[in-house]
């Protein structure tokens, strides 16, 4: 298995609009390797989230090549891409998107159930992950009974449920206050330190500054790349 998880070569993404095509990502070349910690920052509308969506195989490039584990994603059908996301990629969203009718533990179990894990295996893994994010005591609470920071930590546990190699986070602290954001940032650092490659899209310079590699985008292109 290659060290590179996802490899984007000259990818662009254009959206057809009534007033003409809008190019959100323009000719970007980028690789994310095993265990990497990268942040993508830049002004609103610069194409950060669109690039993240392509890296996460939820969107396909209009041009260029995107390979995951060496396989061209464009050759995969919807079912295969779903399976790839389920087993290899974790997503954390700005708005958490926990299912409100399920408990924290059930939310974490959900992707495992979709992947076919047995019930007792799912239970153990959910408890393990909730302990990992420090919320084992909230396992039976519904999202409506959790704070924003707790919901995001449950969402991180859910993203890790199937042991993904790549975790993508789109503005993970966008809806949180500073103190809670710090807790989530520390947790994400820990996830990365434990071996999961992490790509964060953020406006928050503090969160971006924690990454070893910071990519700054402007007008759909990577304007600057800093590696520490």
């Amino acid at each position: 298995m290659s060290d590179v998880i996802v490899d984007a070569a000259n990818v662009s993404r254009a959206f057809e609009m009534p007033a003409g095509a809008v190019v959100a990502v323009r000719d970007v070349t980028l690789s994310i390797a095993q265990g990497e910690h990268a942040a993508i920052s830049g002004p609103s509308g610069c194409g950060k989230s669109t690039l993240l969506h392509m890296l996460g195989c939820v969107d396909t490039p209009s041009s260029g090549t995107l390979c995951f584990d060496g396989s061209d994603v464009s050759t995969l059908d919807d079912r295969a891409r779903s399976r790839l996301r389920l087993r290899q990629i974790g997503f954390v969203f700005q708005r958490f998107y926990l299912l409100p009718m399920l408990s924290a533990a059930e939310n974490v179990e959900l992707p495992q159930a979709e992947a076919g894990a047995a019930k007792d295996v799912r239970r153990l893994r959910s408890i393990e992950l909730l302990e990992y994010v420090g919320l084992e005591h909230r396992a039976n609470h519904r999202p409506s009974q959790l704070s924003g920071g707790e919901m995001q930590r449950v969402a991180i546990a859910r993203a890790l449920a199937n042991r993904p190699r790549l975790l993508l986070a789109d503005e993970p602290t966008g809806e949180l206050d500073q103190a809670t954001s710090e807790q989530v940032a520390v947790l994400l650092d820990r996830v990365n330190a434990d071996g999961t490659a992490l790509v964060i899209v953020t406006h928050d310079p503090d969160l971006a500054g924690r990454a070893r590699r910071v990519l700054t985008m402007k007008d759909g292109q990577i304007e600057q790349e800093v590696t520490r």
Binding site: S49, T50, H53, G56, V58, D59, D78, R79, S82, R83, L84, R85, L86, R87, I89, G90, F91, F93, Q94, R95, Y97, L99, P100, M101, L102, E106, E109, L110, P111, A113, E114, A115, R158, A159, N162, D170, E171, G174
Partner: protein
Amino acid sequence: MNALACAWRSLVRQPARSGLGIIGVAAVGALLFDMLLLSEGLMISTRSMLDSMPFDIRVTSTDQMPGRGPDIADGPAAAAQIAALASVKAVTTLRREDAYLMRGDGTRAYGSVLGIGFGSGRPWTLVSGTDVVGDNEIVINEFAAQVTGTDIGASLTVRSNCADGATAPPAMEFRVTGIATFVFDALGEAGAGMTDTSLAEACGTPGAIPADFLMVQSTGDATSTAADIDALGLHLQASTNDEAMGQLQQREFTYFRQISTVLTTITISFALLLITVLLTVSVNQRLGEVAALRALGFSQGRVVLDVLWESVLIVGIGGILSLPLGALMAVWLDGILKRMPRIPADLHFFVFQPEAVWIHAALMAVTAFTAAIYPMVIVARLPIATTLRNEVVG
């Protein structure tokens, strides 16, 4: 957690919306169930009444139903020729006329009087007393006995109103020999039975004994017996119970079937609209959640299945509730319809049959699937990245 469990939790999550959907489906499903009972109810009920009589062939002057066409001018003569057939076990003539049954004190009841002749068969069942054996004897139903305050052995005056009778028929006095139930007794109507000669006298035409129809009991094979009767060349029409039902289905009950078909279509359309709107609103409220699940790797089929199960649960629970609700409504509506004049008390418009439950279940299943098609298409075609982006921007 599988799709069914998720769908169930989704329903529980929004109890008001789900409750409204289930109540709506229960109401519509109850109507649908009633329409299914109505579509076959009259046929089944009528068939049951026909089969309860000890005759399997009706002989009329034309192919009209008994009582609808012209009379058989000489009932006893026709009956005698038919009775001579080897395949015939019994023949009885029957004439029905309207009449007042009156007591001496002026108490009276209006209803129908049957005049029977030739054979020993009777279109009534004796409850108490004895049957009529000669002229000036009469059996009456419970209602007539109650209204006129008459008991067995008492005298009762009959003033008939015969279709082909005298303009001013005489008021004739009869002795009540028994209380009987008549197959075609209507609720709140008096019924009486006497000999055909008595009825002819009561009609003021003692010389003529016409018959509405002849009731024939075959020795076994009604169809071949009917053919034997036709072969006599009496210019009469013999029809078996099956043929009589066929005629009723074609001429009389087709309206009920059409009404029931139209109302069934309308009720199913309402159910479809109701569930489609509820599910579409529900799905549109959680597009972000669906897109997030898809991003997490949930397959298109899985998120579509969630919506389908939600539809199945709403329609399934509502459908189950609709059955007892529909049964109660059927009893109530049957009672209302049976208040129409001249409707036999034993006739039912809504008759339960197991097939109706299966058809109801099948129609509800089709409704659940069809109603879910549009919201399923929304979920299946949901652009994941665009939805996630729009949710954040929104």
